[in-house]
């Protein structure tokens, strides 16, 4: 998985899910496809409401870490046939998609667990940062 595939400028369009499934899942050995999409939530605190998040990445390292995560997951779940990850950089508004994981495999048990494990490992390991932008245009690093 190259860094071009991992990072995407701006919010991820929903049709990307369909496009990736058409590419990765349309094979006769794929009984299950598990997907997770992470979206920006308009959380509220004392400062007001989050209207967007600006993501920045250490691009070269993110690509390497993502490759390693995919390798770990595919070793742990031999029934899994593919793991695809796409993450936004730049500004993503509340209600929009910023992360997409698509796992295909033979059976539901491993695709479901592999999708969750991919998500948790990416959260630990992807060198990506977010700056929450509030409705009053102030911001906060998370």
């Amino acid at each position: 998985m190259s860094r071009e595939e991992l990072l995407y400028d701006g919010p991820l369009p929903y049709r990307l899910v369909a496009d990736i499934m058409a590419t990765d899942a349309a094979f006769d050995d794929r009984g299950g496809v598990s997907v997770f999409a992470g979206q920006v939530r308009a959380d509220e605190d004392e400062r007001g409401k989050v209207k967007a998040i600006e993501y920045s990445a250490y691009e070269e390292m993110a690509g390497k870490e993502c490759n390693e995560v995919v390798e770990i997951v595919m070793r742990a779940f031999p029934d899994v046939k593919s793991v695809r990850v796409v993450h936004s950089t730049g500004v993503v508004k509340a209600g929009e998609m910023a992360l997409l994981i698509v796992v295909t495999g033979g059976h539901r048990d491993q695709t479901t667990r592999a999708c969750r494990q991919t998500l948790e490992l990416l959260k630990e390991r992807l060198p990506i940062w977010k700056r929450e932008i509030y409705e009053d245009d102030t911001h906060r690093w998370r």
Binding site: E60, L126, I128
Partner: protein, 82 residues
């Protein structure tokens, strides 16, 4: 340890980039990651209060590592992707 003339590329991300006021700087005369931390702290007072890790050539490092010409060091605040 003597002063090194090697040029080290240093990348800053997230809140550290904002506070340093740069995403990328070059340093000379830093023999290892510990010396580099001190040099960066000169231009960013309060660095030691920020939570961060260091990578060298895109690998996380936890102990002090010698630096040489062409190394790429990055100051990484806690990850927040996903």
């Amino acid at each position: 340890m003597g002063e090194s003339r090697d040029r080290i590329r240093v990348l800053f991300f997230g809140i550290i980039a904002e506070k340093v006021g740069a995403k990328e700087l070059y340093y000379e005369g830093v023999a290892d990651t510990e010396a580099l931390r001190k040099r960066v702290a000169e231009s960013l007072p309060g660095l030691e209060k920020l939570s961060y890790r260091i990578s060298v050539n895109r690998e996380m490092v936890s102990e002090t590592l010698q630096l040489k010409e062409g190394d790429e060091v990055a100051f990484l605040p806690p990850f927040a992707g996903g």
